[in-house]
C-alpha cells in the first residue's frame, strides 16, 4: 500500500514518524544513563545521595515507560495508517502534549526534587516527609495527566478509525471471523487486530489513570481529602500495568509487518490468532492484580484471578507470535539484516522475559520475591530485549526503506553488544533477586553490590550500542526520502 502513496506525502508522514522514534530513542538512551548511575551507586562505585537516587529512579521509570510507549505508538501509527484513515492532526497533538508533559515531569523531578517513583502510589505524592513539596508533586502529576491526554486522543482516533472501517472494535478483533460469520480470508490483518487490542486496553488504562491522578492532585492540594488507599492502588496499577504492557503489543506490529516482507510470506490472521488476541485483550485488563498479591486485604478471588490469568496471559499471543515468527522464517531464505535481526531477537526477549513474571505471579513466590530485584529482572528483559528491540528494529527498517543509507559493521557489532548487555543487565537483576536483594533501595549491603556493579558496567555497553543505533537513525533522518525504486517497501527488504 505504501508504494501507492505519493512520495512527497510519504516523506512528510515519515518525518512525523521519525520525530516520534528519535525522541523516544534519545529519551530511552538518557534514561539508560540514569539506570547506570543507580546501579553504580548500589554497587558502591558512585557516591549518590538517597534523594538523588530516588529522583533518578522516578525519572528512569517514567522516562522509559513514557518514551517506549511514545515510540511504539509511532510504530503502530505508521503501519495502521495503511489500513485505516488516521488523523495526522491528532498524531501531532500527541507529540506536542508529550513534550509539554515531559518538560513538566523533568522540572518536577529535578527542580523540585519530586521522587515518588513512576508509580506515584497514593498517598506518597502528598506525604514525602518534606523530601519534596506541593509544587514538585503537582508538576509531576499534572505532567503525567498532560501526557495521558495526548495518548488518550491518539487512541480515541485509532478506535474511531477502526470502527469506521471495520464496523466495531469487536470486528477489529475479528469476532465475526471467530464466530464463523465471516471467512478467515476476510479477517482483519494482524496490525489492525493488535491496534484494536491496544486501543481497548489503553483507553481503559488512561481513564483509570486520569481518575487516580486527579485524586492524587486533590490530595496534594488539600490533604484533608483522603481516599481509600487500596482502591487508589488498584486504579494506579490498572493504569500503570496495562499502559506499560501495551508497549509490547504495539511493538509486535513490527514483527507482523516486516518479517513477512523479508520472507515474502504473508502473516495472516487465522481463527486461532484472533482468539489468542481476544484472550490477551481480556487478560491484560484483569491481570494487574498480580501487583497486589502482597495486599492481604484484597478480595481473595481477585488475587487468585491475578495468578491464574497471569499464567494464561503470558501464553496466547506470545506462543502464536513466537511460533508464527519461527514458521515464517523457517526455510524462507531470509536475508538477515539489522531490522529483521532485531525483530527476531525481540521475540526471544519477549519469550524469555515473560518467564520471571509468570514465576513472580505465583502467590507463594510473590510473597518472597516481589520486593526483590527479581521483578526488575523480568521487566528489563521483557522491555529491553523485547519491546525496545522491536522499536530499534523499526528504526532500521524505516531507514532502509526510506533512504539509501547502508548499515556498517559497527551496527552489527552494536546489535551483538546490545543483546549481550541487556541480557547481562537483566541477569544481574535476577541474580540479585535470587539472593534476596531488595528493589528500590538506594544503598546496598556489600553482599548485594557485586551484581549491581556488573549491571552498571553492562549498562555502559548497552548505552554505547544504543548510541550507535541512534546515530544510524539520525544519519537516516538527514538523507530520508532518498530511496530509489518504485516499490517503496517490499522489494527492497526481500
Amino acid at each position: 500500500m505504501s508504494s501507492l502513496v505519493n512520495k512527497g506525502e510519504l516523506k512528510q508522514r515519515n518525518g512525523q514518524i521519525a520525530s516520534y522514534l528519535i525522541i523516544g530513542a534519545v529519551v530511552i538512551a538518557v534514561m539508560m544513563v540514569f539506570g547506570i548511575l543507580m546501579l553504580l551507586a548500589q554497587g558502591g562505585m558512585l557516591n549518590l545521595s538517597a534523594a538523588n537516587f530516588y529522583q533518578f529512579l522516578t525519572i528512569h521509570g517514567t522516562g522509559m515507560i513514557g518514551a517506549a510507549a511514545f515510540a511504539a505508538a509511532g510504530v503502530m501509527w505508521y503501519f495502521l495508517r495503511d489500513y485505516v484513515q488516521l488523523s495526522k492532526k491528532i498524531f501531532t497533538w500527541n507529540l506536542v502534549l508529550f513534550l509539554i508533559g515531559v518538560v513538566m515531569v523533568i522540572i518536577g523531578v529535578f527542580s523540585f526534587e519530586y521522587a515518588s517513583s513512576w508509580t506515584f502510589l497514593y498517598p506518597l505524592p502528598a506525604l514525602s516527609a518534606n523530601a519534596w513539596g506541593t509544587v514538585g508533586a503537582l508538576l509531576y502529576l499534572v505532567g503525567m495527566l498532560v501526557l495521558g491526554v495526548g495518548f488518550l486522543l491518539l487512541y480515541i482516533d485509532t478506535g474511531r478509525a477502526i470502527i469506521k472501517k471495520y464496523g466495531s472494535l469487536g470486528k477489529g478483533l475479528g469476532w465475526d471471523v471467530i464466530s464463523g460469520k465471516k471467512a478467515e480470508k476476510d479477517a482483519p490483518p494482524p496490525t489492525v487486530v493488535a491496534s484494536t487490542m491496544v486501543t481497548i486496553v489503553n483507553v481503559t488504562a488512561l481513564t483509570a489513570g486520569a481518575t487516580v491522578l486527579i485524586m492524587n492532585i486533590i490530595n496534594v492540594v488539600n490533604p484533608a481529602f483522603t481516599f481509600d488507599p487500596l482502591l487508589a492502588k488498584n486504579l494506579t496499577y490498572a493504569f500503570g500495568h496495562i499502559f506499560a504492557n501495551s508497549i509490547i503489543y504495539m511493538g509486535v506490529i513490527v514483527v507482523y509487518e516486516i518479517l513477512p516482507r523479508y520472507t515474502n510470506r504473508p502473516w495472516k490472521s487465522n481463527r486461532i490468532f484472533l482468539i489468542a488476541w481476544t484472550m490477551s485483550t481480556t487478560f491484560t485488563l484483569l491481570i494487574y492484580t498480580h501487583h497486589m498479591l502482597m495486599d492481604s486485604v484484597m478480595p481473595k478471588w481477585m488475587l487468585i484471578m491475578g495468578q491464574a490469568l497471569s499464567y494464561a496471559n503470558g501464553l496466547p499471543v506470545l506462543v502464536i507470535t513466537a511460533y508464527g515468527a519461527l514458521m515464517i522464517v523457517y526455510k524462507s531464505g531470509i536475508k538477515w539484516d539489522m531490522a529483521s535481526g532485531l525483530a527476531f531477537i525481540s521475540m526471544f526477549g519477549w519469550t524469555v522475559g515473560v518467564v520471571p513474571a509468570i514465576v513472580d505471579a505465583t502467590i507463594v513466590v510473590n510473597h518472597v520475591m516481589h520486593n526483590t530485584k527479581w521483578v526488575p529482572g523480568h521487566f528489563h528483559m521483557y522491555m529491553g530485549l523485547g519491546a525496545v528491540a522491536m522499536l530499534f528494529a523499526f528504526m532500521y527498517y524505516l531507514a532502509k526503506v526510506d533512504s539509501n543509507l547502508e548499515t556498517t559493521i559497527l551496527d552489527k557489532i552494536a546489535l551483538i553488544v546490545y543483546t549481550l548487555a541487556i541480557i547481562s543487565v537483566s541477569g544481574q537483576f535476577l541474580v540479585s533477586g535470587a539472593i534476596s536483594t531488595p528493589r528500590r533501595w538506594a544503598t546496598h549491603f556489600p553482599e548485594w553490590m557485586g551484581p549491581a556493579l556488573f549491571g552498571g558496567i553492562a549498562g555502559v555497553f548497552m548505552f554505547l550500542a544504543t548510541v550507535i543505533f541512534i546515530v544510524h537513525f539520525i544519519s537516516y533522518i538527514q538523507v530520508r526520502g532518498t530511496s530509489t525504486g518504485s516499490d517503496f517497501d517490499d522489494k527492497k527488504v526481500a
Binding site: 482516533d157 470502527i163 466495531s168 483507553v203 486520569a210 481518575t211 486527579i214 486533590i218 481529602f225 482502591l231
Partner: protein
C-alpha cells in the same frame, strides 16, 4: 413541522425553567444533596439545551463567529460543570444568594452552548469529552463515598455517600453505553 418542534422546545425550556424557579420546587430539590446535584443541575442544563434549539438557529452567524468548531463552547461547558461539581459550590449556592443566581444563569447558558457545540464537535472531540466526564464522575463518586469528613455544611455525611453512589451509577451507565457503542456494528453510520 420542524418549526413547530423548535417553538415547542423553546416553550418547553421556558416552562421547565419556570418550574425550577418555583420556591417550593427549588427548596425541595435543594434540600436533598443527590437531588440538588443530579436532578436540579442537569435540569437547568436541559433548560439551556431546549432553549438553544431555537436561539442558536436564530443567531447562528453570531454563534459561528466565535464557536465555529464547537471547542470554545465545550471548554466553557467543561469549566462551568467542573465548578459545579466542587462540593463547596453546592453549599454556597444555598448560603449566598448571588451564587444561587449564578447557578440559575450559568447552567442554562452552558446548556445552550452545549447544544450549539455538540453538533459541531468532531467525533474525536465528542469521545474525548465523554471519556473525560466518565473519569470525572468516577472520581467524584469516589470522593463523595470515601470522604472521611462532612464536606458540606448544609448536607449530612450520609447524604454525601448517597450522592457518591448516584455518581457511581452514572459512571457505570456511561461505561455500559461506551462498551455497547464500540462493540455494536456501526458500519452504516457516519462516524
Amino acid at each position: 413541522m420542524i418549526k413547530k418542534w423548535r417553538s415547542n422546545s423553546l416553550l418547553s425550556g421556558l416552562i421547565l425553567f419556570g418550574v425550577l424557579l418555583i420556591p417550593f420546587i427549588r427548596q425541595f430539590l435543594e434540600s436533598v444533596m443527590v437531588l440538588h446535584m443530579l436532578v436540579q443541575l442537569p435540569l437547568l442544563v436541559l433548560v439551556g439545551w431546549l432553549i438553544g434549539i431555537t436561539i442558536t438557529r436564530n443567531f447562528q452567524s453570531h454563534f459561528d463567529s466565535w464557536n465555529s468548531n464547537g471547542i470554545p463552547g465545550t471548554l466553557l461547558f467543561v469549566m462551568i460543570t467542573m465548578y459545579w461539581m466542587i462540593p463547596r459550590t453546592l453549599d454556597e449556592a444555598l448560603s449566598i444568594w448571588y451564587i444561587e443566581l449564578f447557578k440559575y444563569v450559568s447552567l442554562p447558558v452552558i446548556g445552550l452552548l452545549l447544544y450549539d457545540s455538540w453538533k459541531k464537535l468532531q467525533s474525536i472531540g465528542k469521545s474525548f469529552i465523554y471519556l473525560n466526564y466518565l473519569s470525572m464522575f468516577g472520581l467524584m463518586a469516589w470522593l463523595y463515598i470515601d470522604s472521611p469528613i462532612q464536606i458540606c455544611n448544609n448536607y449530612l455525611a450520609a447524604e454525601q455517600k448517597i450522592l457518591g453512589w448516584g455518581l457511581l451509577g452514572i459512571t457505570a451507565f456511561m461505561v455500559l453505553y461506551l462498551v455497547q457503542a464500540v462493540f455494536t456494528d456501526q458500519t452504516e453510520e457516519a462516524i
